[in-house]
């Protein structure tokens, strides 16, 4: 990743991380290493130190829930899923994202009205 112009976009990515995590959790239920692996190599690559607090916040907001599942090696793991509210939130965010995208694209080459 090139760092210089990246720095300006950092707050944008930070803000979108929650959205991105919700989108991943929207699929089949996942545990934290799955989410990390899914994001590794993308613009949203993150770490457990960020992800656990974020997931606990989303859970507090009622957007995700988790259940314990036994694992072959080691202690049981938390598998996360969206709640109904979470699903509605992802849908709303998707719509909003499309709208933002359209707005930004339009601003680039729209004829000036003024």
């Amino acid at each position: 990743m090139n760092t210089e112009p990246d720095l300006k976009l950092l707050p944008l990515r930070k803000g979108l991380l929650e959205f991105v995590v919700l989108k991943i959790v929207a699929g089949p239920s996942v545990y934290v290493p799955d989410i990390l692996r899914r994001l590794a190599g993308t613009e949203f690559a993150t770490q457990e130190g960020t992800l656990y607090p974020l997931l606990s916040k989303l859970r507090r907001e009622g957007l995700v829930q988790y259940e314990w599942q036994e694992s072959d090696s080691g202690p049981p793991r938390k598998y996360y899923q969206l709640t109904e509210a979470g699903r509605a939130q992802v849908h709303a965010l998707d719509q909003y994202w499309l709208q933002l995208h359209r707005t930004i694209a339009d601003l680039g080459h729209s004829p000036c009205n003024a």
């Binding site: 929650e18 457990e48 130190g49 607090p53 606990s56 916040k57 507090r60 202690p75």
Partner: protein
């Protein structure tokens, strides 16, 4: 030869070398401090402890049972510093800003003689530690030993500063004091 310390990470025991233990203690203390206003603090810390345990297990060479700094350090780097989403919100609301700026009275283990009370007092008052030690010793003679009691009380009450990264290991007595006080506090916290 290194001494080893057994710790419980999310209710499973792990054996660490002394310097790895100091590093881990620092990481967890720092994480706990970052999450101090987070209602799910205990749960997130348990998640992190499990993540650390998993990472170390993965890195441990076959046949080895003791976690060294060589395994712990990359594990902690991969896990990363804790970022509290709730805290960044409250900064936006202008609330949590002043708590970080000025550290209160703390015990400083690095360079301490006993537990770091004089060291910490000197740092908060921005004076030389020799001065606080001389005063403490004078008080010890004047009070005929009662000062020892005061020292113990302060030692139990004043929080420790997190250990510095990459600093040389603590001297024997400060390290021992810190260990005893930390475990005593944990026991008291468990009882309450």
């Amino acid at each position: 030869m290194q001494r080893v310390i057994t710790v419980s990470l999310n209710h499973n025991s792990y054996v660490l070398e002394e310097d790895a233990h100091a590093r881990l203690e620092h990481y967890l203390a720092e994480s706990a401090a970052t999450l101090s206003s987070n209602p799910d603090r205990a749960e997130i810390l348990a998640d992190l402890e499990q993540a650390i345990a998993d990472q170390c297990n993965r890195r441990l060479q076959p046949g080895h049972t003791v976690i060294t700094l060589a395994e712990l350090q990359p594990a902690l780097e991969e896990i990363g510093r804790v970022a509290d989403p709730a805290a960044s919100e409250s900064v936006n609301h202008g609330a949590a800003a002043e708590t970080v700026t000025r550290p209160g009275l703390e015990q400083v283990s690095e360079g301490a003689w006993i537990s770091g009370v004089c060291n910490g007092l000197a740092r908060s008052a921005s004076i030389d530690v020799t001065l606080t030690r001389v005063i403490a010793l004078l008080l010890l003679f004047v009070t005929g030993g009662t000062m020892v009691l005061l020292y113990v009380v302060l030692m139990l009450l004043i929080p420790y500063t997190p250990l510095q990264l990459n600093a040389p290991p603590l001297r024997k007595i400060p390290a021992k004091c810190r260990e005893i006080v930390t475990s005593l506090r944990a026991k008291i916290a468990a009882m309450v």
